[in-house]
């Protein structure tokens, strides 16, 4: 038995380009300025002189068109889900989601509420969870550094997973949004 294919050369040009781009992506995270829940109050101090997120290249953008990161800041109400889907799908690839607080992980203190989602990654692909109720700005920065490391290592593939498994996500989303009137995909 022998292999008739030439071995793939590690570190070819395309891989190198992707690595350089991943370094740039990790050091230039633009966040959609959209607060979905109570946790967005903890995002504001990140811009101040005490925490200063800009030193990591993190900046707020007022439009999803220019953003890379969507932060689900705390509980996500069933009514808000439709808007969040629209915002997430309008962000251009590659894009990442950071989920803040216990509510996004298992519902937190709203675990038995009729209008709050319990497990966020059934509906949207989460790259990093930051636990706490609510996480302090230090914890959010820690979450960002985790995301930056994932991007540098080329492991932040939530957006690819979402596109590959769109049927699964849509099925779950439609269980919550009963008056579904969104297009197939929000460009």
């Amino acid at each position: 038995m022998y292999c008739n294919q030439p071995p793939e050369k590690p570190g070819n040009k395309k891989e190198l380009l992707e690595k350089i781009t991943n370094m740039a992506r990790a050091n230039s995270l633009w966040v959609t300025a959209y607060g979905t829940g109570c946790g967005s109050i903890e995002l504001r101090p990140l811009g101040t002189s005490r925490f200063d997120m800009e030193r990591f290249g993190i900046a707020m953008r007022p439009t999803p068109r220019q953003a890379d990161v969507l932060i689900i800041s705390g509980y996500l109400a069933t009514k808000t889900l439709k808007r969040v889907i629209r915002v997430y799908e309008q962000i251009q690839d590659p894009k990442y989601i950071i989920a803040l607080g216990s509510c996004t992980i298992n519902g937190g203190m709203y675990f038995d509420s009729y209008n709050t989602l319990n497990v966020l990654d059934k509906y949207l692909p989460v790259d990093v969870y930051v636990m706490g109720c609510m996480p302090r700005p230090e914890a959010i920065i820690d979450g960002f550094s985790l995301l930056m490391q994932k991007i540098k290592d080329g492991r932040a593939h939530g957006w690819k997973h979402y596109k590959e498994n769109l049927d699964y996500y849509r099925e779950n989303q439609k269980k919550i949004i009963t008056d579904w009137d969104l297009p197939d995909y929000n460009w």
């Binding site: 781009t21 992506r25 101040t48 800009e54 953008r61 439009t63 220019q66 251009q92 590659p94 460009w187």
Partner: protein
């Protein structure tokens, strides 16, 4: 011919690098004024590369795609029509091709293309910002044009080369000293040109988030960033040539453009924003009157 083309290519590349670096430095300076550390000075290069490599699936018609090209074209035309270093003929590029009025027209052309593209995107914030921007532009263009006319009439030349050559007899021959009122008018018009506060009504983050480029993303946004960096440097070199005697060496060029760039950055950091009508009223009265004083003085 080849030397000329390579000089133009190097001018564009150098201006882009200098413009992005100046942007990074201004972000750091603003952060220090806020009491923050701020981003690294190379942050704009990182942002640009990231944007360039993002995918884009947004389409809003032909003008939407052409707008950043208009802006870049306008910036490049201004850049290559101004001599960079006095005495080094290779850096004069295409400065033989037009006079100051052509430059003012091309500067307007780039912004107009941008306005058409942003209008084509259909986003309400972009349209509001475009109407504000054009209203403000017609206000500061007035004072800037009158200041340029005053200088040109005073020096008996409309050629940018001639204006630079007339300022080579020492620091007192700089137009800022020979035409102080026109220079003050032009420098006040420079603030809205750089979208600095208190004239930052076009981007106005608290009212019409980000303004014209609301719908732009990915590669298109990276072109717009590049256009803005190029345009910024082109305007700096134009102002250095018009008011500050041009640059007699490369070091002089970098020092003068750097100091001139810091002027709107520092002013911007400490001022709140005008409302649209306040901005336009100010630009119609104060800088225009100042420029007119020198024009009348020169005519008499």
């Amino acid at each position: 011919m080849f030397a000329n083309f390579s000089s133009i290519a190097l001018t564009i590349l150098g201006a882009l690098t200098w413009g992005l670096l100046l942007g990074g430095i201004s972000r750091s300076v603003t952060a220090r004024i806020h009491g923050r550390m701020g981003p690294r000075v190379t942050q704009n290069f990182i942002d640009l590369w990231k944007l360039f490599r993002k995918t884009s699936s947004i389409h809003h018609g032909g003008m939407f795609w052409m707008a950043p090209m208009f802006r870049i074209t306008g910036a490049i035309c201004v850049l290559i029509m101004v001599p960079l270093v006095v005495g080094q003929n290779i850096t004069y590029n295409m400065s033989f091709a037009g006079d100051v009025f052509l430059l003012i027209y091309i500067m307007f052309f780039g912004c107009l293309g941008m306005a058409l593209g942003a209008g084509n995107s259909g986003h309400p914030y972009a349209v509001i910002a475009v109407s504000r921007g054009l209203a403000q532009m017609s206000s500061y263009e007035l004072s800037f044009s009158i200041a340029v006319v005053a200088i040109a009439v005073g020096l008996h030349t409309f050629k940018i080369e001639g204006i630079v050559a007339a300022q080579q007899a020492g620091i007192t021959s700089w137009n800022i000293f020979r035409f102080p009122f026109a220079s003050a008018g032009a420098l006040l018009a420079f603030l809205p040109m750089q979208m600095a506060y208190p004239f930052g009504i076009v981007l106005a983050p608290q009212e019409i988030p980000i303004g014209p480029p609301t719908e732009y993303s990915s590669r298109m946004l990276s072109f717009m960033f590049s256009g803005r960096a190029l345009f910024g440097v082109a305007k700096l070199i134009l102002f250095v040539s018009l008011l500050f005697g041009g640059a007699s060496s490369w070091l002089g060029l970098f020092v003068k453009t750097f100091l001139l760039y810091m002027y709107p950055v520092v002013v911007s950091s400490v001022f709140p924003r005008f409302r649209t009508e306040q901005s336009i009223r100010f630009l119609w009265f104060i800088p225009t009157t100042l420029a007119l004083v020198d024009l009348v003085r020169v005519m008499l």
